[in-house]
């Protein structure tokens, strides 16, 4: 079932990055180290995108998630008062959050993983789509009047609103 080739090997290396990074995030007591583990995890996801033949998403993953969001998290960590040696790891809502996490895991397993593997694994070998979309196709679809031009402009408006909102909330009026 599993062929031992470079792609499989790369998958397991990236899986190790993702899972190990994720484990590091939740076990470390130092928020700065947690952020670095998160970057490792996000890098692994970028590797998955490469393996899935989605180079644009891989680059976006590195540029936006590692290049911007992780940096923003670093800034947010720097803003907190006690970024190292967190003592209270378990709080009063741990039961509720455990239930939610388990439910989410079950839901993702049932809806995404099981249909692909199936009873006889019939779908596992099939490509999701016959069409290989390039970045040019994406660019054309984004600004096509019959396709995604409205979400495209709404995204711009959303980004504008996010930025204005952040400035309004973060700045205290002198």
């Amino acid at each position: 079932m599993l062929e031992l080739n470079v792609q499989t090997l790369a998958f397991f290396v990236f899986a190790l990055f993702v899972l190990g990074g994720g484990l590091g995030v939740i076990t470390t007591r130092n928020l700065v180290h947690g952020t670095l583990y998160l970057i490792l995890s996000l890098f692994g996801v970028a590797g998955f995108f490469v393996l899935l033949s989605a180079p644009f998403l891989a680059v976006v993953q590195v540029l936006v998630y590692i290049g911007a969001i992780a940096i923003l998290i670093v800034f947010a960590v720097m803003l907190t008062r006690s970024m190292t040696s967190l003592h209270e790891v378990v709080n009063r809502q741990w039961v509720l959050s455990t239930i939610v996490a388990v439910l989410l895991f079950v839901m993702l397993t049932v809806t995404i993983i099981l249909p692909v593997w199936g009873q006889d694994g019939s779908l596992a070998g099939q490509p999701v789509s016959e069409v290989v979309a390039t970045t040019t196709d994406l660019g054309k679809a984004l600004v096509d009047g019959n396709q995604y031009v409205l979400p495209f402009e709404v995204a711009s408006l959303l980004l504008t609103a996010a930025m204005i909102g952040a400035i309004v909330i973060a700045r205290d009026d002198e």
């Binding site: 080739n5 470079v6 792609q7 790369a10 490469v50 393996l51 033949s53 180079p55 644009f56 976006v60 540029l63 936006v64 290049g67 911007a68 969001i69 940096i71 923003l72 800034f75 947010a76 720097m78 803003l79 907190t80 008062r81 970024m83 190292t84 970045t135 040019t136 196709d137 994406l138 660019g139 054309k140 984004l142 600004v143 096509d144 009047g145 031009v149 495209f152 402009e153 995204a155 711009s156 408006l157 980004l159 504008t160 996010a162 930025m163 204005i164 952040a166 400035i167 973060a170 700045r171």
Partner: protein, 120 residues
Amino acid sequence: MAVLNEWAFIGVFFAVAWVFPFAPIFLARLVAPRKPNPIKQSTYECGVETVGDTWVQFKVQYYIYGLIFLVFDVEMIFLFPWAVAYRELDFFAFAAGFLFIFLLADALIYAWRKDALEWV
């Protein structure tokens, strides 16, 4: 396999990049004599003793900077495919891209007028 070949170069860079920091550290540990004393082991920055705690709370201004950077980084994701397909687009698509930039230019002007771009 064909997919990986193009990316193997980045993989090689990734692997080699680890060698550069670790080789000097390892070599230094191997070659350098170790005669520690309290003065040598004291923490210093540019030859000067450090004052106070290293982990200080940052100003919120830096966070706003990071956030504005994030917004324009995300804008770049949307504009990059548009720019790649630029030569094959009609006028409507061209205008749609410019409306996108215009809306975000608004946000930039707002940030500018609110002095959010001032470095403190």
